[in-house]
Symmetry: C2
């Protein structure tokens, strides 16, 4: 039957405070900390809270250490930060980070455009970051364009799997495969997982509306970790429109009705989503944020 293969639970890593806010106009560190608190109150236990990048290059991510200091360490919570290089890794570790995310791309052209580095050079940098992190701090290498590139088109699954092996051999703790511009489908997810194995995270986008169906197919295929963004904020700057990350509330709403435990309370998550909308100053793209959970009934009509 269809529902065979769905797991009793999934790990949802919230990336809104970093990936979601990165493309927005800068939001003060205190407001970002408020969003993080709201997300933790909803039951989020894995969360990307900051990026240790040049505030000149990425003004929206300025004050990463302040955000971490405001939140502090939390029992049972892993706070992740994106770092682009060893210097960023050192700063993040000094600030007490629990885990590092590092991006490499499966697409040469995307890599050149996004970080002005070849894939090989970014892998070298990722390995240096792993060395800097040492055994105490996990490093999650996020492979962008893992299901296709807007420049090269299809990326061979063998190429993605080979890249994963190289970074794991280089010291990465875990891999996350990102559908950066929304080119994945269940078939393509299956094709890639057949070569990488299902012990990966998935970072899905709604660019073509297929975030949930890809998550569902991946869960059927054994994937247990998903990156999502509160409100569906964020997404590739190369994907136009309100078509960013898979929204945390959309995935949690689905999981709730599938009986798949996420540990996240949907009503509290929607409260966090309202905080996100408040601090960015506009509605968020999530459809569940707009419509509410399926369990929220309308008042009966009069008469």
């Amino acid at each position: 039957m269809t529902l065979a293969g769905l797991p009793p639970s999934l790990v949802v890593r919230e990336v809104g405070p970093r990936d979601g806010l990165q493309a927005e106009a800068p939001v003060p560190a205190t407001a970002r900390a408020r969003l993080i608190e709201a997300l933790l109150s909803a039951g989020v236990r894995e969360i990307e809270v900051a990026a240790f990048v040049s505030p000149k290059a990425v003004p929206s991510m300025a004050g990463a250490a302040e955000v971490l200091a405001a939140i502090g360490p939390r029992a049972g919570v892993r706070r992740w930060a994106l770092v682009p290089n060893r210097r960023g890794a050192e700063l993040a570790i000094d600030a007490g980070i629990d885990g590092l995310t590092v991006t490499v791309s499966a697409s040469e052209t995307y890599s050149a455009k996004n970080v002005r580095m070849s894939v090989a050079d970014s892998v070298t940098e990722a390995v240096h970051i792993c060395e800097t992190a040492g055994p105490g701090v996990p490093v999650d290498v996020v492979v962008s364009c893992a299901f296709g590139s807007p420049y090269e088109g299809d990326i061979a699954p063998a190429q993605v799997a080979s890249l994963c092996r190289v970074v794991l051999d280089g010291g990465a703790t875990q891999i996350t495969l990102a559908d950066t511009t929304g080119m994945a489908s269940p078939r393509r997810v299956d094709d890639v997982l057949a070569l990488t194995g299902s012990d990966v995270g998935l970072h899905l986008h709604e660019t073509r509306g297929a975030g949930l169906v890809n998550a569902y197919a991946a869960a059927q295929a054994g994937v247990r970790r998903f990156d999502t963004s509160v409100g569906g904020l964020g997404g590739s700057p190369f994907a136009a429109g309100a078509t960013g990350n898979l929204a945390t509330e959309d995935l949690v709403n689905l999981c709730d009705d599938l009986g798949v435990e996420t540990g996240i309370d949907l009503e509290r998550l929607l409260a966090a989503s309202a905080v996100a909308a408040d601090i960015v100053g506009h509605d968020v793209p999530s459809r569940v944020a707009a419509a509410g959970p399926r369990s929220r009934l309308a008042p009966a009509p009069p008469g």
Copy 2:
């Protein structure tokens, strides 16, 4: 494996010219005919083209006979029209319709609010319409709120299946189950199909972003007919925001990458979607309409 159970092909019934345009400001019959022509050019073979309803009650559907006359009969194409009663059925048959769609609801409160009739009365009317149609004109009874009601909440699958049996016994040719306000999930689809069988159509909504995942799960469970709306236009007036019908281009884009044949050419469909946006005077909610098919690559960046 995940992809087991997917069929080689699906039948996509386009409902945009009726369901999609019904909630919009009135569009002239000639413009609606232009949209239908564009959809037929894309390969659409089942299409809901009009509603034979009171033009006073539903001004956007005025001129149904004109639309049918402008299109004319087409070999290999079934043109459907929504009819609310025997009078509508007679008018549609006089105008040369190929099939009738009739709505009944699995929700008493939704039925009262939407058509001011009890479910039992609307079933009686549907049976009268089947008698009017006779053996020459197929009647598709669309069961709204089949996966939940915004008023009563969950609807027991046995209640939905019982309603289906009554209308089939009453002469309906086929059944379509509608997720009117976006309350379905793959589990709920499975639960209903377990009692109705999979020889039903599905009419899915994106209210909570789950249109594609529900279509995917239903296809895995044996469903072969789907109602979709070009651009994602339409949807329940009781579901706020750009959260209407599953968009035809979003489903076709997914099917193309899954290797599931729909007979619809995506680029031509996107041209029809542009016609839809033109005649309603605003962007359509479909994400593939905004992002383009996954195969449409970006120009390589300079340097």
